[in-house]
């Protein structure tokens, strides 16, 4: 009999896991309490950025994921608004430049092609940038994708490969017996399975608590502004260096609302301008002060935006973990239960590799990647001892 797998959560992570599983000889049910991309994956930005990633295993994961993205449109036979347009981290003072220079040297040492451009070189790439920008780091490998289109395309492709989709179907409980998973109890009855994968982002603990487990995934709110449609003025990912630098120096808590500029333009022409980082639970309200501060940073980098209209803002919740790395792998205390959650601000970038590795793990294939740094055990140990 074919192995049967239930995937909980149809965000960009769950749909990717379901898609990669659907290429193997497995029966799949993808379940979501609401809809495809109704959670964080429908309220986020679209960067696949390498030069901003944390040093170590997370960067290695991101590099492999970026490679998978290159062929994804062709594989899924759908326009995902993918573009490898590169990425810039803007610098407006000498002090930040020094810190960034050190990072770039480190990045080059592992073969990630990042270089420092002078202010004039940056303005040659983008003439709308302010004179206040004195330098920037540039990485050609940085890319972007429409995360909503991607989640829908993964789900559609999985469905084509015979995966069953259950929307508006909430998982209430995990069904287990003798420390082995038997399936899930949903609002629409029980679904039996050999394996269950939890891909429910910031809502992961609601499911884990039914088997007396808890992980330190908490919502880290981010606000993004959307402008009116404009002719193409930005054709790559742009971040401000000040936030990255304070993150490198582990001082990000000193920045009010964790605001750090991230700006890009969608295919439809709107600008997406982020963002903030706050721990305020699931409070969706949007403070005018934060909108104003983000807009100010955008105008600082691009003075021409002063008269451009803001048409909307939205809030999303990044699934934060204390070491900023996702939790990937089997859950040791319940055989057949897996987790792929906690991708924080990198879930879009890491979706394809997460789906690929999880599908190999669940079907007992050999994995050419050391997943041990991502194991749930790094968080469980402290509660046991």
């Amino acid at each position: 009999m074919k192995q049967k797998v239930v995937v909980i959560g149809a965000g960009i992570i769950g749909t990717s896991v379901a898609y990669f599983l659907s290429k193997k000889n497995v029966n799949i049910v993808l379940v979501d309490a609401k809809d495809i991309a109704s959670g964080t994956s429908g309220a986020c930005d679209k960067a696949i950025m390498l030069q901003s990633k944390k040093w170590g295993p997370a960067l290695e994961l991101a590099i492999q994921s970026a490679t998978l993205y290159k062929d994804l449109e062709q594989e899924l036979q759908q326009d995902l608004e993918y573009r490898q347009g590169g990425g810039l981290i803007l610098i407006d003072n000498e002090q930040d430049l020094k810190v960034l220079q050190q990072t770039v040297e480190k990045q080059n040492s592992i073969g990630l092609n990042v270089k420092i451009l002078t202010g004039d070189e940056v303005r040659k790439k983008n003439p709308y940038l302010s004179e206040k920008i004195i330098a920037a780091s540039w990485c050609e490998e940085d890319a972007e994708i429409n995360p909503m289109l991607t989640a829908f395309a993964f789900a559609k492709a999985a469905h084509k490969n015979k995966a069953i989709l259950r929307l508006n179907c909430e998982v209430l409980d995990l069904v287990t017996e003798n420390n082995r998973i038997l399936g899930v109890q949903t609002t629409h009855g029980k679904i039996y399975a050999d394996s269950v994968v939890i891909c429910s982002g910031v809502w992961t603990n609601q499911i884990l608590k039914t088997v007396q487990l808890e992980v330190p995934i908490i919502p880290r709110k981010g606000i993004i502004l959307v402008t009116e449609k404009l002719p193409k003025i930005i054709d790559c990912n742009i971040l401000s260096g000040s936030y990255i630098v304070s993150k490198l120096q582990k001082e990000q808590n000193s920045i009010p609302y964790g605001i750090g500029l991230a700006i890009s333009q969608t295919k439809s022409g709107t600008l997406l301008i982020g963002g903030s980082r706050e721990f305020v639970g699931f409070d969706e309200s949007i403070k005018t002060k934060i909108i104003r501060d983000i807009a100010k940073q955008a105008i600082h980098a691009f003075p021409c935006l002063d008269n451009i209209h803001l048409i909307r803002s939205f809030a999303g919740f990044r699934p934060y973990t204390p070491d900023n790395m996702p939790i990937l792998g089997e859950i040791p205390s319940v055989q057949g239960l897996y987790i792929a959650a906690g991708h924080e601000g990198d879930g879009v970038a890491l979706a394809p590799i997460t789906g690929k590795l999880m599908s190999e793990l669940i079907t007992n294939q050999k994995i050419e990647f050391d997943l041990s740094p991502f194991s749930i055990e790094r968080f469980l140990e402290s509660t046991i001892s």
Partner: protein, 82 residues
């Protein structure tokens, strides 16, 4: 009839709305994520009430809980004048 334009800002037609409901969308947000309805300059002020009527008929009253939330700003404002 299917060729009726419901969202003029984004150019979304009735048939696309019906197709989104067919694909499993049960809320305004769900339809919006499938075809960009309501994402235009007026932010759904024109098209949302029509979609609400379609949803009520096709999906039922439950679908109405998830209407597009009011998101700042109330009307378009220049970034420099916030």
């Amino acid at each position: 009839m299917e060729k009726t334009c419901i969202c003029r800002c984004e150019g979304v037609f009735l048939e696309e709305i019906l197709q989104a409901i067919d694909e499993g969308a049960t809320s305004f947000q769900g339809i919006k994520k499938r075809n960009r309805i309501g994402m235009g300059h007026c932010q759904g002020r024109t098209c949302q009430p029509i979609v609400r009527d379609i949803l009520r008929k096709k999906v039922g009253a439950n679908s109405l809980f998830e209407l597009q939330k009011a998101q700042a700003p109330v009307r378009p404002v220049p970034l420099g004048k916030l």
